[in-house]
C-alpha cells in the first residue's frame, strides 16, 4: 500500500502518470482520481500533456495529489505510479521512463504482473481491464476500470471517493456500469511485490522497454533540441517529406490482415487510405506498410470483395 511520500520539504505528495492513446480517456482517468482526492479535502491537479497528437496516438496525462496547496505547474517526469491503459503501448513508449526507484507500475494486461516487474520497482500490478470493460461497459474503454486497480494499490484516495467522483461525472446509468467495472477491477487486480518476485523473471521486461525507448533511424532531433541559431529564417524545413521518419503505425490498435486468395488486386484499398500505407508488390497485390497504417479500418470496409479483416493488435509476445 502506498501512502503519501514525503517530499523534500516534508510535504506529502503523490504523482501519477497515465499512458493511453488519444480518445481512450487517459485524461478522464487522471481527472476522476484528482476529483476524488479533492472530495477528501486534499489538493489535486489533473492535466494532459499538450501536443498535436490526435485520436489513436500515444498520449500521457498527469495527476498530482498533495495535502497542501500545489504551486507546481510542470509535467510529471518522475512519477510514483505509472498507469498503462493500453498494453499495445508497451512496445512503443518506455512507460517506465523516470518512474521512481521504489515506484509502482499498473498495467492493463491479461498477463501476470511478474512479466512487467523491474528490479528497482516496489510493485507491479496487472488487471485485464479491456476484458472487464468489454463485459460491463460493452466498449474497450479502460479509463475508469483502471482506477479500481489504483484504488487497490494506493491508500491515498478511498474507493468511496472515486465512486462519488464517477457518480458526479456520468449520468446514472453510465455511472452504475462504471462503478460496477471499477469494483470488479478492484477485486481482480493482481499485485506482485519486489520481495515476492523470482529473480529470473526480472530481465525480459527490461530488455523489452529498452527497445521501445531507442530513437528511430533517420529521424531529425526533437524540436526542443534546436538552438536558435540552427533555425532557418521562418523555420523553413528543407527536407521535403521528412515526416516519413515518424511512424504513425505506433498508434494502431487494429491491424488490417489481407486474405490473398480473395483479393482481386483492384487497388481500392490503396485509393482510400488516408495514411499512404499501401504499396503494390511485384505480383500486383497491395500490402500494408505497418510503419504508417494507423488501423482506421477504411480499407477493410471499402474492399469490394471483403478480402481484408481488421484484427486486434496483440500484446507483444516479447513480454
Amino acid at each position: 500500500m502506498v501512502v503519501f511520500k514525503k517530499g523534500k520539504g516534508g510535504e506529502k505528495v503523490l504523482e501519477i502518470r497515465f499512458h493511453g492513446r488519444g480518445g481512450q480517456g487517459a485524461v478522464t482517468s487522471a481527472e476522476l482520481f484528482a476529483q476524488a482526492a479533492i472530495m477528501e479535502g486534499k489538493y489535486a491537479q489533473a492535466f494532459p500533456s499538450f501536443g498535436p497528437e490526435r485520436r489513436g496516438a500515444p498520449v500521457v496525462a498527469f495527476c498530482r495529489i498533495d495535502d497542501r496547496p500545489i504551486f507546481l505547474r510542470t509535467e510529471i517526469n518522475e512519477p510514483d505510479i505509472v498507469m498503462v491503459l493500453d498494453p499495445s503501448l508497451l512496445s512503443v513508449v518506455d512507460v517506465t521512463a523516470g518512474l521512481k526507484d521504489d515506484g509502482i507500475l499498473i498495467i492493463n494486461s491479461e498477463k501476470e504482473p511478474h512479466h512487467f516487474m523491474l528490479e528497482r520497482l516496489e510493485q507491479a500490478a496487472t488487471i485485464n481491464a479491456t476484458q472487464i470493460a468489454l463485459d460491463i461497459l460493452k466498449r474497450p474503454i479502460t479509463n475508469t476500470v483502471l482506477l479500481g486497480a489504483l484504488a487497490r494499490i494506493s491508500a491515498v484516495v478511498k474507493m468511496e471517493s472515486i465512486i462519488d467522483a464517477i457518480e458526479q461525472r456520468f449520468d446514472a446509468k453510465n455511472a452504475a456500469r462504471n462503478v460496477q467495472a471499477l469494483q470488479k477491477a478492484f477485486a481482480e487486480t493482481l499485485i506482485l511485490s519486489k520481495n515476492d518476485c523470482k529473480p529470473e523473471s526480472l530481465n525480459s521486461f527490461q530488455k523489452y522497454i529498452a527497445a521501445a525507448s531507442t530513437t528511430r533511424e533517420g529521424a531529425p532531433k526533437a524540436d526542443s533540441e534546436y538552438l536558435w541559431n540552427e533555425l532557418q529564417p521562418g523555420c523553413v524545413v528543407t527536407d521535403a517529406g521528412n515526416a516519413k521518419s515518424f511512424r504513425t503505425g505506433d498508434w494502431r490498435s487494429f491491424l488490417p490482415v489481407l486474405n490473398k486468395e480473395r483479393c482481386i488486386r483492384c487497388g481500392v484499398c490503396w485509393v482510400f487510405c488516408p495514411d499512404m500505407a499501401y504499396r503494390q508488390d511485384q505480383e500486383g497485390y497491395y500490402l500494408v506498410d505497418l510503419d504508417y497504417c494507423k488501423g482506421c479500418g477504411i480499407c477493410a470496409q471499402e474492399c469490394p470483395v471483403g478480402a481484408i479483416q481488421m484484427e486486434m493488435e496483440k500484446e507483444a509476445d516479447a513480454v
Binding site: G22, G23, P52, E53, R54, R55, G56, A57, P220, K221, D223, Y226, C235, V237, D239, A240, G241, N242, A243, K244, S245, F246, R247, T248, W251, R252, C266, G267, V268, W270, V271, F272, C273, P274, D275, M276, A277, Q280, D289, D291, Y292, K294, G295, C296, G297, I298, A300, Q301, E302, P304, M310
Partner: protein
C-alpha cells in the same frame, strides 16, 4: 463494384506528394482529400495553407509531410498569400528572372478558414482575378481547436458552441453556401467534391487548375472525430452525403451548371444523419425541416443544370 473507383486506381499517379507520417486522427477524410488533391496537382505547385487540422498534422517542426513547396500562413489570409505568390511568379517570369515553366498556385483552408475568417481575402483574390485554385476542406466545424461551429456547420448539428439541448436543436443557421458565393464572383470554375468519389474529385482539381482565372473547389471532408462516427466509416458517410442530396456533387464552368454525380432518386436523409453523433438528437420536426430544404436545394440544382 463501383467501376469509377477501379478506374480511379488506373488513372491516379502512384506518386505521393503528401508523405505518410502525418498526424491526423485515424480515418481522417480531410487528410485523404489533401492526398488526392495533390496527386491531381502533381509536382509543379506551390500551396499556401491557412492554419487548421491539416496544417497542424502535416508540419510539426522539424517534420513536414509536404513534398512540394508549401507555406503555412495565418488563419485568415491563405487566398491573399496565394494571390501574392501568383503575382510574384508572373513578374519574375516577365523579367526573365525565373524560367517560364508553368507553376500552379493553390490556396488551402478549412471551412472556418474559408467561409468565416478567410472570406474577405478569398473574395478579394477572386475579384482581382488571380490565376489560382482555392481548395476548401470542409469538415463542417473548427476541428483543430476541438469542434466549434462555423458558418459551414449544417443546421441541427451539435458542436461545442452549438450544443443540442431541450430548447435549441444544435446549430440554428443553415449552412452558408460558399460555392454559390464563389459563382457570384463570375470566376471560370467552381465545383464541389468529396474523396468518396475520388475520380470526380481528381477531375475537378485538374479542371480547376487549368482554368483561365480563379477556381474554387469545395471538398466535403468527413471528420470521424468531430462527427462522431467510427473511423472506418469515413468513405461511407461521404458517399451517403452525396446519395441523400445533402451534399450534391456539381460543377459550374463559366456559369454553366452540371451535376456530376446524378441520381434518379435520392436516399432517405435519415440514413446519413441519424447514425452520426452530432445529429442523433434530431427530432422529427427538425428532420422534416432539413428534408424540405435539402429537396428544395436539389431541385434548384437540377433546374440550373438543365438550363
Amino acid at each position: 463494384m463501383n467501376d469509377a473507383n477501379v478506374y480511379a486506381v488506373k488513372t491516379l499517379t502512384k506518386k505521393e506528394y503528401f508523405a505518410p507520417g502525418h498526424r491526423s486522427c485515424l480515418g481522417c477524410g480531410e487528410a485523404l482529400a489533401v492526398r488526392l488533391v495533390h496527386k491531381a496537382l502533381g509536382r509543379n505547385v506551390i500551396t499556401a495553407s491557412a492554419t487548421g487540422c491539416m496544417e497542424i498534422v502535416s508540419s510539426p517542426f522539424p517534420l513536414t509531410s509536404w513534398e512540394i513547396p508549401w507555406i503555412h500562413v495565418a488563419f485568415e489570409n491563405a487566398a491573399a498569400v496565394a494571390g501574392g505568390i501568383e503575382a510574384a511568379l508572373k513578374v519574375l517570369q516577365r523579367k526573365g528572372k525565373i524560367s517560364d515553366k508553368k507553376v500552379s498556385v493553390v490556396a488551402m483552408a478549412g471551412d472556418g478558414g474559408t467561409v468565416d475568417i478567410g472570406l474577405q481575402a478569398l473574395s478579394g483574390a477572386m475579384e482581382r482575378g488571380h490565376k489560382f485554385l482555392y481548395v476548401c476542406y470542409d469538415n463542417e466545424a473548427y476541428m483543430n481547436t476541438g469542434v466549434q461551429r462555423s458558418s459551414a456547420t449544417p443546421f441541427g448539428a451539435h458542436t461545442t458552441t452549438s450544443p443540442a439541448g431541450t430548447v435549441v436543436p444544435g446549430q440554428v443557421t443553415w449552412k452558408k453556401n460558399m460555392p454559390e458565393i464563389a459563382v457570384a464572383h463570375k470566376i471560370p470554375y467552381v465545383a464541389t467534391a468529396t474523396p468518396s468519389y475520388p475520380l470526380d474529385l481528381v477531375n475537378k482539381i485538374k479542371k480547376g487548375i487549368a482554368a483561365d482565372g480563379p477556381a474554387y473547389v469545395h471538398i466535403l471532408s468527413v471528420c470521424p472525430t468531430g462527427w462522431g462516427i467510427a473511423s472506418e466509416e469515413t468513405i461511407k458517410f461521404g458517399r451517403l452525403a452525396v446519395q441523400t442530396g445533402f451534399f450534391p456533387l456539381y460543377e459550374v464552368e463559366n456559369g454553366k451548371y452540371k451535376i456530376t454525380v446524378d441520381f434518379e432518386e435520392l436516399m432517405p436523409l435519415e440514413q446519413y444523419l441519424l447514425p452520426q453523433r452530432r445529429f442523433r438528437h434530431l427530432a422529427e420536426d427538425t428532420l422534416g425541416y432539413i428534408r424540405g430544404r435539402v429537396a428544395e436545394q436539389w431541385e434548384e440544382l437540377q433546374k440550373r443544370s438543365a438550363e
